[in-house]
Symmetry: C2
Amino acid sequence: MRELPTAGMVEIKDVAREAGVSTATVDRVLHDRPGVRDATMRRVKDTIERLGFQPHAAAAELARGRRQRFCFVMPKTLNLFMADIVEQLGAIRRQLAARRALIDVVETDVFDADALAGTLEAVGPRYDGLAVVALDHPRVRIAIDELVESGVVVVTLVSDIPSSRRAHYVGVNNIAAGRTAGTLIGRLLGGRAGKVAIIAGSLLLRDHAERLFGVQQVIATEYPGLTLLPALEGRDDDDDNRVLVSRLLAEHSDLAAIYNIGAGATGIGDALIEARRAQEVVFIGHDVTPQTRRFLIVGVMDAVLSQNPGREARSATRVLLALSRNEPIIAEQERIDIHVIVRDNLP
Amino acid sequence: MRELPTAGMVEIKDVAREAGVSTATVDRVLHDRPGVRDATMRRVKDTIERLGFQPHAAAAELARGRRQRFCFVMPKTLNLFMADIVEQLGAIRRQLAARRALIDVVETDVFDADALAGTLEAVGPRYDGLAVVALDHPRVRIAIDELVESGVVVVTLVSDIPSSRRAHYVGVNNIAAGRTAGTLIGRLLGGRAGKVAIIAGSLLLRDHAERLFGVQQVIATEYPGLTLLPALEGRDDDDDNRVLVSRLLAEHSDLAAIYNIGAGATGIGDALIEARRAQEVVFIGHDVTPQTRRFLIVGVMDAVLSQNPGREARSATRVLLALSRNEPIIAEQERIDIHVIVRDNLP
DNA sequence: CTGTTAGCGCCTTCAT
DNA sequence: ATGAAGGCGCTAACAG
């Protein structure tokens, strides 16, 4: 059993006394503020090290008395996944109130680059930090970069713009998600040959495009028996998807699998059931919703790839808080991973 | 865009003034402390509600000035997964120092009920909270219950004792994990018939026993073409496992799948490779380690079920902190879920 | 039952 | 370049 020294009992005044300076000087050294001779600085740093001094976080937070404002810029038409994030933000808001930080949510048309960029320009400057579901478009990138330039912390959420100067991306690696879907399809078909259909919401969205890229990679190179049909876009809409899939099923008697890249799983599942081919066709999609949950249980869907909306909301908030206070973030803690959900590990 | 009121600016003294009482009384009401007339209490609660008062967490923490000590009771012989948890605790320790809490780690023989119970009795009373990798044995349960009785917060970690009075269990639903393994095996075999072997570490461990139960449930009821061989115990040891699997492969030419419930994947994988049946036999195990990672990439393993050690360590810490301060925990945030990892979504 | 008051440990003017 | 002193908002001990 390891007995730690009664750590954390050391306070600034202890350091000050030991180093023969005032607490103000220790504070200056602690935060790399100017106005301290090099020699003094070194001496203070040494004693901090020697005594193992750790500033008391609560005391610092209280004394600083800063308040911060964050804004989440979300899609105007919330699908279930996005709605879930917004709902979680409600709970988070309460916690943040106790830390004197607040979050607003604004909704905008994320498919319209001008609208999105306009929103960012309009609301951004009023906040210390922004989380944005980003459309990867030059106009949006510029708006983000300008906010960053003016000192606003920006994180991208769910969909990234890697070329922008955003501080952090909260979301999964979507190429890996697509690859995972590809591998699952290949393995679940167990060598069977046939056609694989991909339904996306919109390939303008970077997350959808990346998933498509990933699944194509795997199917094309690892499963020569499978033929990828051209990706279809159903705007994440149940009705559109139902029509698309009904047509697919009619045209391809050897359709072996469907990968739904975005939302609108209900339309696809219903079309499969209607055609009585729900059991024979492998169907993989994203996000656990009441619909996909039911489809998994009855065997219409075979696997759902998911990211935890609550975790993403909390991660974005933590990152925003930390970065706007110039504190470091723990990368490992903020990694969002892809879940593979089957009937038996549904949350 | 929703404009929130400049929330959180309300302080205790505002509430006090509005309610016509002193700050001390507000504080009493806030914490349900005795010594307040019913009428006053109601009045204060109303104004708190009306003003939307939220106590400033940092100020409260500073004023209270409590320090807490926690202890993690871990297995003496650390497998990679447990070692990972301990390593993460090192990082967490630093964060906790800033909150004036500290954690010790003690290692003990968790397979020996007397030793484990003895350790709990010996070290427990010195701490505000304990996280225990628990062996489900009456002696251990009693030790835990007595600690709880004396006011120590106890959480079980990775392996639970549901019948004990522990405040919380940090870990996955192992029956669900076993069921997930069963479904993956069944689906990956795609209707092929054959035998399924289960290798456990020790069925005395509740987590192993539960996984076994789960996998048996699914295979027996959903995949009649598959025959479950009696579970073998390899003490999570590579050498033992290698011998067991070599023998299995020799005896059963129709061995279709292996589910490794505990550690020691290397021995199993090596035996499969040696027998040149690595590709044909479906091999599923637990926990991402350098070994299982390599097996996944080269196709010896088909899927790994995993729980994130860092997340579990942090969750246990958060829960201990919250409960020992009489704060609520956010269940959803503390849920540990089972990850299905294939080659393409390796972290 | 209720109010007064002195901190908690750090940060931040304002002097020196 | 350095120090002294007053708060930050809440809690707890002590009066009344």
